[in-house]
Amino acid sequence: MTELYTEGAPIRDEKAPDGPIAERWDKRRFSARLVNPANRRKLSIIIVGTGLAGASAAATLGEAGYNIKSFCYQDSPRRAHSIAAQGGINAAKNYRNDGDSIYRLFYDTVKGGDYRARESNVYRLAQVSVEIIDQCVAQGVPFAREYGGLLDNRSFGGVQVSRTFYARGQTGQQLLLGAYQALERQVAAGTVEMYTRHEMLDLIVVDGRARGIIVRDMVTGEIETHFADAVVLATGGYGNVFFLSTNAMGSNVTAIWRAHRKGAFFANPCFTQIHPTCIPVSGTYQSKLTLMSESLRNDGRIWVPKKKGDTRDPRDIPEEERDYYLERMYPAFGNLVPRDIASRAAKRVCDEGRGVGPGGLGVYLDFADAIKRMGRDAVEAKYGNLFDMYERITGENPYEVPMRIYPAVHYTMGGLWVDYDLQSTIPGLFVIGEANFSDHGANRLGASALMQGLADGYFVLPNTINDYLADGPFEKIDENHPEVKEAVEGVRARLEKLLSINGSRTVDSFHRELGKIMWDYCGMERTEEGLRKAITLIRELRDEFWRDVKVTGVNEELNQTLERAHRVADFMELAELMCIDALHRRESCGGHFRAESQTEDGEALRHDDEFAYVAAWEFTGVGEPPVLHKEALEYEYVEMKQRSYK
């Protein structure tokens, strides 16, 4: 294994204060230096990405009086992929009087993350969760309400209290529009300069500090440099390395990967979350996967035929020839086992050749019993919109024929390593939202992604970035600075290279193949042998990509093929690091399941003595062994336990 990576000095979060956990955030806010309002006007911040984290940070820092430049690759900041989040947002409001508290939200999150998240960060997240709801309501986010006019709550997977606030099945959309509107208000006020259809292609680091970014104007192809006193990346997750995921088509790793190449450590890259209830792949042309709310598992029964390769109409398969495998294997929780367990079980039965639908990658989620028990109207009232969505996509009527579902990648817990201030290992480079690794450990709980994005953007970053900016403004630099020139040249050369290969395979065909490798060997279940094989395959594919990819057109135009090509090129490098990370972590935890490390019942088995740390990776070159820096995780407030769902 040592040939694949080397181990460097351990790393530590220097910013988190010690003392009682409930006082740490207050303590840090007090110890962080401030920038007085008059000086803020002299300081500039670049924020890349306009999802929940990026838009809320840009709006808040703009309100504070800093000069903000905000960038997004979409045609409008409102399209960032936070918009697609369905379920809800957690907050420890205890409006239900059901025993919820900040401490309980903290506890649930650490436990749900399978004890691979930092206590201090998670506690702070739980603390500010309360303020997020207040802020969003004040902005006009139309959360669901009860007849008395007060906010409604629902419960969500893995917890026993009702603390999830929601806006029908479109909570992400409503929260993002709230942040987007706050952002546009600052654009109108002149504190934020918005750059849409601009994609970050590199980070500018001068004298060891992040000082700007290189972007491509996606309409004209112009390569621009933008400078600032600090750079914030809010560019989301990298689930699209799997090609098929629930991420948006444009979601990519480029911004954080380029920062990683410039010296920012990448933490826990192999921690990915795979959601069990997605609409399965219907053919090779498939471009993305669509999530269906997990709530379907409350009334639907999951099964596959007992016989291999049974292609009969599901309605013709008699009861005794069906295998309700979750009910069989987990009698206590049945169809309601946690996401990772349900996902793995589905994969296992499909691997046995008992999967259903095109390609045999699917299992039935059957509502026939529920319809018999509750009546069709009751089922429709509860799940009507989901059934409609299913029918629109598959053309099958789920009231008549059982739904087919299959797991899909939808969130990445890993990301750039940050300290308590959300600053990466490059001074002046801050990373927020899904792009950082900080709060979810090895597994994220439902309705916590929205909470973290907004916590980082509205409340955490605006209170910590000033500690760094208090040393600014930094020395002025321009495009003639040697380090800037070199970075710009690097970007140009890479684009020219991509355009000049003129090979025989399309970008998508490479991406699809990369995704297949990752899904097969670095997906729901990982083995030493598989991961080693994957690394070899990825390296070969990467070489082939740079030899044989075909990118049409020129740089100086709107060129969507070129955009995809440079994103896929970065995925090719990330994929290798993910496999190395997965390979080195010889334990199972949360979303990371190593077949070699399981309990007798087939559950994830952690090795806390060896692996209770964050793996922060340092880049050394493409195909070169990265350096592992371990950040030890200490638990003072939560006791580490094994999960059980029998």
Binding site: E131, Q135, G140, L150, L177, A188, T196, M249, G283
Partner: protein, 248 residues
Amino acid sequence: MRITLRVWRQKSRDDEGRMVTYELDDVNENMSFLEMLDVLNEKLTLQGEDPIAFDHDCREGICGACGVVINGVAHGPEVTTTCQLHMRSFKDGDVIEVEPWRAKAFPVIKDLVVDRSAFDRIIQAGGYISAPTGTAPDAHSVPVPKADADRAFDAATCIGCGACVAACPNASAMLFTAAKITHLGMLPQGQPERASRVVKMVNQHDEEGFGGCTNIGECAAVCPKGIPLDTISQLNNDLLSALASGKL
């Protein structure tokens, strides 16, 4: 199935543009409309031709990035976004005509990609509630009647795709503007800026070069999120009372 596509090709903003015909023999009815375009683009790329540019991102009907006029109808024959339209809505042998949104305020950038930044500027003009971070009172301090909250939500589901403009014979963006006016106007938090908001947003709407509303209703009929036509009535109501009250 076999499909003949006639697609608007335009190299750049200043290019003339024209309809170009393509044939596809191996279309699967379970493909989404955009996946069908992906397949065509793969083919074009391998032939060394420029693939068709079109905006798209989430492909689950919520980001609002995609949207083309299919056979003269914004988002095509089903009331949904283009990404959620599937080829089973067409027949073997169909000729499908694909064009970009057309409006002066939405200039074509390339092929089927248009510039919708006018929508952002309408929001900038007043489509928000001024609530700086940290100033908010407890979320439960102001109850909101469920009926108001629900109506606000219905209007707030607008995805800003621009189909309303593409479908409107006047190329008016009234439904988009009205959706935001109604969303914020129904909530107690939106009251202080209600009068100035509607005036500023409508002024910006007109300045962007969108046409005026003549209540034809095509916008609501193609809206993938079903924003109701009465939001425009709400906008008119708010505008009249704002002008009458004079407190702008």
